[in-house]
């Protein structure tokens, strides 16, 4: 099915562990984004990518790493998870200047 999918949808991990959140889109959109959503902060941009092998930092990039070896995939890695990274993470994609399309979100809890 066409769309944007995230996995896992729910994840519980411990402080210091590495976690990777996956994002896959089937529209061949050039642009992909990772946001985190926390109460009172709305959606904050972590990283974005304009094309394969082109990524850049957003508003809150510290503690996160991204890669984009293929257009359709944009994984987000927390190299050493901290409690402050407990959040709901949304991946989004877009064709450029138009609307963003969001995945269903990944709820991460860091104990």
């Amino acid at each position: 099915d066409a769309g944007i999918t995230q996995s896992p949808r729910y994840k519980i991990t411990e402080t210091g562990r590495q976690v990777t959140l996956m994002c896959h889109q089937t529209w061949s959109h050039s642009y992909m984004f990772w946001y985190r959503q926390d109460l009172g902060h709305g959606l904050r941009l972590i990283y974005y990518s304009a094309a394969a092998d082109i990524t850049d930092k957003g508003e809150v990039p510290d503690g996160y790493v991204v890669s984009r070896s293929k257009t359709e995939n944009f994984p987000l890695t927390l190299e050493s998870a901290t409690r402050s990274q407990t959040s709901v993470y949304f991946c989004a994609s877009g064709a450029g200047v138009g609307e963003l399309f969001f995945g269903e979100g990944s709820r991460l809890t860091v104990l």
């Binding site: 050039s30 642009y31 984004f33 946001y35 009172g40 902060h41 709305g42 959606l43 904050r44 941009l45 974005y48 304009a50 957003g58 508003e59 949304f90 877009g94 450029g96 200047v97 138009g98 609307e99 963003l100 399309f101 969001f102 995945g103 269903e104 979100g105």
Partner: protein, 114 residues
């Protein structure tokens, strides 16, 4: 620093009421303003506005942009319980190569009571 501010943060109304949600912004290289509705899952797209003074309308929802005063409003008339959600405002800033980076406000949580 680029920012998007939404007000009110939360709102409780009764079915049939009309509500107005506000979004003001200070964003360099403004390109567009988008409204999203978020229930218990991913945000879903409502409107995209790029020109001042042109109302976008979809059923009971409408929105307008004022690029001089740097704000937008989202109106919902004859509210229904199904309108209960968080409404997000996002501003697209031109980064380069026909690409926008989107800044989101903190959202307005609307609760429509029967």
């Amino acid at each position: 620093e680029d920012k998007v501010v939404q007000s009110p943060l939360s709102l409780v109304v009764h079915e049939g009421d009309t509500v107005t949600l506000n979004c003001s912004y200070e964003v360099t290289n403004f390109r567009s303003l988008l409204w999203y509705k978020q229930e218990k899952k991913a945000p879903t797209f409502l409107f995209m506005l790029t020109s001042s003074g042109i109302e976008k309308k979809s059923g009971r929802l409408s929105s307008i942009l004022d690029k001089k005063e740097l704000f937008s409003i989202l109106n919902i008339t004859a509210t229904q319980t199904g309108d209960s959600a968080i409404y997000l405002c996002a501003v697209g800033a031109f980064v380069g190569n026909n690409f926008n980076k989107f800044y989101f406000g903190s959202g307005t949580k609307l609760n429509v009571k029967p």
